[in-house]
């Protein structure tokens, strides 16, 4: 432990230790706050779970760096009434009830929302409620949106409804006396000004102010009722944005951290220990054992690593820990065996080994007390360095599609991003954030590894 103190003396390793500490804290936080089962379930849950999230939203912090504020998502729900959400019901006859819902909200962003949806739930026996939905702009202009009969679970995709879009475009044409060159999106008509600028999609500005969505419901049974949820989808979400399935990428990135660290470190440590053990056994027993071990190593050295992994993962459904096992197995007779063997062969001839034997030390004691501690200094830095390789390997395998379909990892996020054309569509954040995490991890391991090398193998410093 005392030998690790100098780690903090080198500036570069201080940075490395800092990054690693951050990643570890992030991992601990993740594991403590979001159980893995929950994360895995959320990640695979499909769109229904994520219905309130915008699609392909940027991370929220981009607003700090940009003068124009991108919209955040606004959700108004009659199940959570407040000063902005008012629901009034009046009896209008023996069986008829009128419910009026008003949802008021202030829209102060510089860009149009990405989507606007309405979700309904209703309770009735035979006659479904009939709703009349209208939109009021800050200047008081009222736009009827739709009159509809709703089922128990229903929705109205305001921004993507083609009938509504045609109606609104017609309405606009009548007002302006001109036909726009293109179909103006519903959200632009609802949040934009009713003037000539609406015709130019590039320059049209959002009208900031108080908007209102009104729903007037006719209920034909005394017990009937309905609830409305309005979602005005923004263009930013969370710290990592969302993907094509509206999922919070942050969840995958959070869980990706402990998984990446665990995968990298356990692969590096177990491979190094196995290689060291094989090298030690080979060097200690020599003769036939050595010959067999060396031939096996040579076979493994020419065994193509990636094709074997691809083959196994196509034939079997593998999860990440099986991949780890395969990686460990394929690397256990790796080139490290030769290095460790050479080291042990050299060490076993050391006079202090002979001295130890002269005063009665047994094989086990010599290997454990005298040989292995001599190898550790050369081993530890390379283990730390190779941990970075294995973090990358896991990501690379995931990008190649040799991944765990369940576990959310950094590599999976990047794979999704590539698969759904993130770079092509300009969703750079989707690739950049997981890549930055990967890079940070391997940089921190590299910085620490180099510093450890300087500490444990001081002679290298002079070279």
């Amino acid at each position: 432990m005392m030998r690790l103190k100098p780690l903090l003396r080198y500036k570069s390793s201080l940075v490395g230790v800092g990054i690693l500490c951050f990643l570890i804290i992030l991992s601990v936080y993740t594991v403590a706050t979001l159980p893995f089962e929950e994360a895995a379930r959320l990640w695979r849950a499909g769109e229904l779970t994520w219905l309130d999230n915008p699609r392909n939203a940027l991370p929220a912090w981009v607003n700090f760096f940009s003068p124009t504020k991108l919209p955040e998502t606004l959700i108004l729900n009659t199940q959570k009434p407040g000063p902005d959400v008012i629901k009034v019901s009046v009896r209008a006859g023996e069986n008829i009830k009128i419910s009026r819902v008003e949802m008021n909200f202030r829209y102060g962003f510089d860009d149009f929302p990405s989507e606007i949806n309405l979700f309904f739930t209703s309770t009735y026996r035979t006659s479904p409620p009939q709703l009349t939905i209208s939109w009021t702009k800050p200047d008081g202009t009222q736009i009827p949106l739709r009159r509809m009969t709703i089922a128990r679970e229903d929705r109205f995709y305001i921004s993507s409804d083609t009938v509504l879009s045609t109606e609104l475009n017609q309405l606009m044409e009548n007002r302006l006396g001109r036909k726009p060159a293109y179909t103006v999106p519903t959200s632009t008509i609802l949040f934009g000004p009713f003037d000539e600028t609406l015709l130019n999609p590039e320059s049209v500005k959002v009208v900031k102010g108080d908007y209102r969505l009104s729903v007037e419901g006719l209920l034909f049974e005394p017990e009937a009722d309905f609830d409305v949820k309005l979602v005005v989808y923004g263009k930013v979400y969370g710290w990592a944005g969302t993907d094509h399935l509206r999922r919070d990428i942050g969840i995958a990135l959070l869980w990706g951290t402990p998984i990446a660290l665990l995968f990298g470190v356990s692969a590096a440590v177990s491979i190094a220990l196995i290689q060291m053990t094989i090298g030690a056994v080979s060097a200690w027993f020599r003769g036939g054992v050595d010959t067999v071990m060396q031939r096996i190593t040579e076979v493994f050295l020419v065994l193509p690593f990636l094709p074997v992994l691809i083959m196994v993962s196509t034939l079997y459904k593998v999860n990440i820990w099986v991949i780890l096992l395969i990686v460990v197995f394929l690397s256990s007779f790796g080139p490290g065996v030769k290095n460790y063997r050479a080291l042990f062969l050299q060490l076993r001839e050391s006079p202090y080994i002979e001295a130890a034997r002269s005063y009665g030390a047994g094989d086990l004691r010599i290997v454990v007390i005298h040989l292995i501690p001599r190898v550790l200094p050369t081993m530890i830095p390379s283990v730390v360095l190779s941990a970075a390789d294995f973090v990358f390997l896991e990501a690379a395998l995931a990008i190649l599609g040799i991944g765990d379909p369940i576990t959310p990892t950094w590599g999976k996020v990047i794979q999704d991003a590539f698969y759904f054309g993130a770079l092509f569509k300009g969703h750079y954040y989707w690739v950049l954030i997981p890549s930055a995490l990967l890079a940070a991890t391997s940089i921190s391991f590299a910085l620490i590894g180099f510093a450890l090398d300087k500490i444990f193998n001081p002679r290298l410093k002079e070279v």
């Binding site: 050391s350 006079p351 202090y352 002979e354 001295a355 130890a356 034997r357 002269s358 005063y359 009665g360 030390a361 047994g362 004691r365 005298h370 501690p373 001599r374």
Partner: protein
Amino acid sequence: MLVAGEGEWMNTSENIVELDDVRVYFPVRRFLSVAGYVRAVDGVSVVINRGETLALVGESGSGKTTLGKSTIGLVKPTSGKVLFDGVNIAELDEKQLKKLRRKAGVIFQDPYSSINPGFTVYRAVEEPLVINRIGDSKERRERVFRALSDVKLNPPEFFASKYPHMLSGGQRQRVAIARAIISNPEFIVADEPVTMLDASIRVEILLLLREIQQKHGLTILYITHDMATAKYFSDRLAVMYAGNIVEVGPTKLVLKDPKHPYTQALIEAVPEPDPRNRLGLRKVVPGEPPNPANPPSGCKFHPRCPQFIKGKCDLQQPNSLKLADGREVSCFLYDRGP
């Protein structure tokens, strides 16, 4: 002058080590087959008396280290018998051998590599006690400190916490000596203990060894290629050549009147202590030492021997002859028998 059976007055309690026709051959492997044998020790019979210092002198490669190791079972003889304290080492199992080794200590030539560089002085000196489960930690502590002050590493507390790389060569060799004597052995193999040290501290270390020997009543096998230190340090002298001991006897007698031509050549090669003669030509033993994998026939020294008898020395191996004054020599010059 030949007195047969002269050695019969000795008994086992007097001899701490007794070698009987010991041979140690190392196989020379080429590819997967054995191409031949290096005859590191090739038929040695010698006794080491309790309490004496026997110097084993010979050129580098003559098999001194191998012979030294075979006395305490660190190498297994190919043939022959090694009796340690009257016990045949070859008949012991690993456990008994371990017990027996407690009675022996080794000091190696290179103090820089004979101590684990990752161990503190304390740990290095304590280890034989730990391995042999001697004493509890308090008792071991006392013994380590006592051994360190025995070897003049004072104050012991100061040196105990040092790592080998913080010490000079002489200090390290003192640590090695402390480690060799920590389990109160009766017998010490000192394999060229001062060869790697500066000339200025050699004497100090040898005097220290002598002091410790007297204090603890030790028997020492002092291995060296340097006739000068053997002269000052030993009671008896054994001269080794190509795996054989060619001459044994009390140091003073052997030096005054060397019998074997090889011993004579060695003694002539010793540098003069008289400074006036220092610059004069130093004689060395002429010729090359033989290849131990393919030694000459007959007496192995015959190609270099100034008194080579043709038809005898190159055909037959000389027997060891016991002379009257407790000396033995293997040379046909003294073999007047048939």
